[in-house]
């Protein structure tokens, strides 16, 4: 403390040393408090999902006692549709991620590097559509799915509509990324006689790995957790995604909530594992468009 006071000129004013003294403890207290608030609900969910269904409102505890695997057994065996939901969600999330990332990268590259008539108009239209609330397009999307494309109540229909509605953000993110990639490598490829397609697939895509991963992870998270569009487009329980199935669980099996909690962890676990493995890309993806894009 003495050191700090010596290092700081008196001109800083009398109130400063006090703040300096309490600053670190105050910050730690805040951070620890919010950590508990953020993590405890999950931990309690895990704990109670390993307890008998009669204990669902037992006094709070940090460890499951009495312990049982019954809820998980019931969820995986007694509900015929549960494995289907897992499969549907996996199919949807993987195909939606792959399609969105690949096509958005292609479009982003065109917007960032090529000159063609209509470029600015198209880019601004796509960009501007990011401002539109998804809700405003839901009625026509539903109408098209039912009347035109007849893919209502299918996973591929859900994939097509979700990917199409989420292109804008992906294209914007990839455009921003490609704009700041140095042109040297491409120019070398052009001099060697490579065309646009060869250059894109051989030179640009490998280079764009971090951006592709960041967008891929955001897309996986978004589609894996998607709810509203599935609610509108999917109708029969065997075609449900996991979030939609869980929503149904929550209302139909309110009396056996331990099972609902166990089921809900199947939705959280994969995304948490991905989050822990690829944390850096989550952060990049989120901050990238927000800041470097300059709102």
């Amino acid at each position: 403390m003495a050191q700090a006071t010596v290092a700081r000129p008196v001109a800083l004013g009398g109130e400063m040393p006090l703040w300096d003294r309490i600053k670190v403890p105050v910050f730690y207290a805040l951070l620890i408090a919010w950590t508990l608030i953020a993590v405890l609900p999950y931990w309690l969910t895990v704990v109670y999902s390993f307890m008998p269904k009669t204990e669902i409102f037992a006094p709070p505890r940090l460890w499951p006692s009495p312990f049982t695997l019954e809820n998980y057994r019931v969820v995986l065996t007694a509900f015929d549709e549960f494995p289907r939901w897992l499969l549907n969600s996996t199919l949807f999330a993987i195909s939606a991620t792959a399609l969105r990332v690949f096509f958005a990268a292609m479009a982003g590259y065109a917007f960032a590097r090529m000159r063609f008539p209509g470029r600015n108009l198209l880019f601004n239209l796509v960009l501007g559509s990011m401002m539109l609330p998804g809700m405003a397009m839901l009625v026509p999307q539903y109408w098209m799915a039912v009347k035109w494309f007849k893919f209502v109540d299918t996973i591929y229909g859900l994939t097509i509509v979700w990917v199409s509605s989420s292109f804008a953000f992906g294209v914007f993110m990839m455009t921003q990324f490609f704009k700041q990639v140095p042109r040297d490598l491409e120019e070398a490829a052009f001099i060697d006689g490579a065309g646009w397609f060869t250059t894109f697939f051989r030179v640009i895509l490998p280079l764009a790995r971090p951006a592709l991963l960041a967008l891929g992870i955001l897309s996986f998270q978004g589609s894996w957790n998607e709810f509203m569009l599935s609610l509108i487009l999917l109708q029969t329980p065997e075609n449900f995604t996991l979030p939609l199935g869980l929503a149904m669980f929550r209302f139909q099996y309110y009396a056996i909530y331990s099972n609902v909690l166990a089921g809900s962890l199947f939705n959280s676990l994969p995304i948490m594992i991905i989050f822990f493995v690829f944390q850096r890309y989550f952060v990049e993806g989120i901050t990238y468009t927000g800041l470097k894009g300059g709102a």
Binding site: V39, M106, V139
Partner: protein, 291 residues
């Protein structure tokens, strides 16, 4: 007359080939959908009944509808007005704390972000249970409140859940913004004899303004469209105390005995316009307060 070279033509062709999948998907399900939505908003229809033109009367029907006027709009405005400032200030404080050179920073960052990767359905399921009459929260607080089944507490409870789930993401955005401020600026200010409060006021805040704008915009767009948590936790009840704008659109378009998708479209269009106007006002406000 200008002659277009072969190379230029090749570039145009390549560009439109690269853009084709996006233009096709976006063109149908966003652009065309928006145009159709505008047309639908002047009609009344559902899947069994083809669109019938009502014109501007459809909007008047929406605005005069008691569910819209008495529940959906006030509830949504309350929701936005409470959630956006609280989540913005909380996330800024936490970002500021994490920006100090504290130990275990990465741990805190991970913990804070956890709620943001979880699906809204799972969050809803967890909190329905935590806020149940005999749930953990009542047990810990020694209370006996039926949080989600009481017209006074239902909407505030959903506000709390939403603040809980979004603060982490916004904190990350603020943290990146704070770390982008060059430390030389603080050093220069210190040499000029600026106090810590003056530094915050004249260095941090102005440089963070675009980030604040971004976070508030995200918050406004997100909160105006609150739906998932409402659906999972209360379905708009009890007694429409959590009936919000988007939930009402869903209700009109899909849940009623005789759905009216035209009326739902008009309400959706009003929402899009409202979000746009509020965002613009907010932008003017944040830019206007330039120091």
């Amino acid at each position: 007359m200008t002659r277009v070279s072969k190379q230029t033509l090749q570039e145009w062709f390549a560009a439109y080939t690269f853009l084709f999948p996006v233009l096709l998907g976006w063109g149908i399900f966003v652009f065309l959908a928006m145009v159709m939505s505008f047309y639908f908003s002047f009609t009344t229809f559902n899947l069994l009944k083809p669109p019938q033109w009502l014109g501007i009367d459809n909007y008047i029907r929406v605005i005069r509808h008691p569910d819209f006027l008495r529940y959906a709009v006030p509830n949504t405005l309350k929701y936005v007005a409470v959630v956006v400032p609280i989540q913005t200030v909380l996330s800024l404080i936490f970002a500021f704390a994490l920006d100090q050179k504290l130990r275990a920073r990465d741990f805190f960052r991970t913990a804070f972000y956890l709620p943001s990767v979880t699906s809204s359905v799972v969050i809803g399921i967890i909190f329905v249970w935590l806020f149940a009459p005999q749930g953990v929260i009542n047990q810990l607080l020694g209370l006996d409140i039926n949080w989600l089944n009481n017209t006074k507490t239902s909407l505030p409870t959903i506000m709390v859940v939403n603040i809980w789930s979004t603060t982490g993401t916004l904190m990350l955005i603020f943290l990146a913004g704070l770390q982008d401020i060059p430390s030389e600026l603080y050093e220069a200010a210190a040499i000029d004899g600026a106090t810590r409060i003056q530094m915050f006021r004249y260095v941090t805040v102005p440089l963070l303004r675009p980030v604040i704008f971004f976070v508030v915009t995200l918050g406004i767009i997100g909160t105006f469209q609150v739906f998932d948590q409402i659906y999972i936790m209360t379905k708009g009840g009890p007694l429409k105390s959590t009936m919000t704008w988007v939930y009402l659109i869903y209700f009109w378009g899909w849940q009623e005995v005789r759905p009216d998708m035209g009326r739902a479209s008009a309400a959706a269009f009003l929402l899009a316009v409202t979000i746009f106007v509020v965002t613009m006002i907010q932008r003017r406000f944040l830019e206007g307060s330039e120091a």
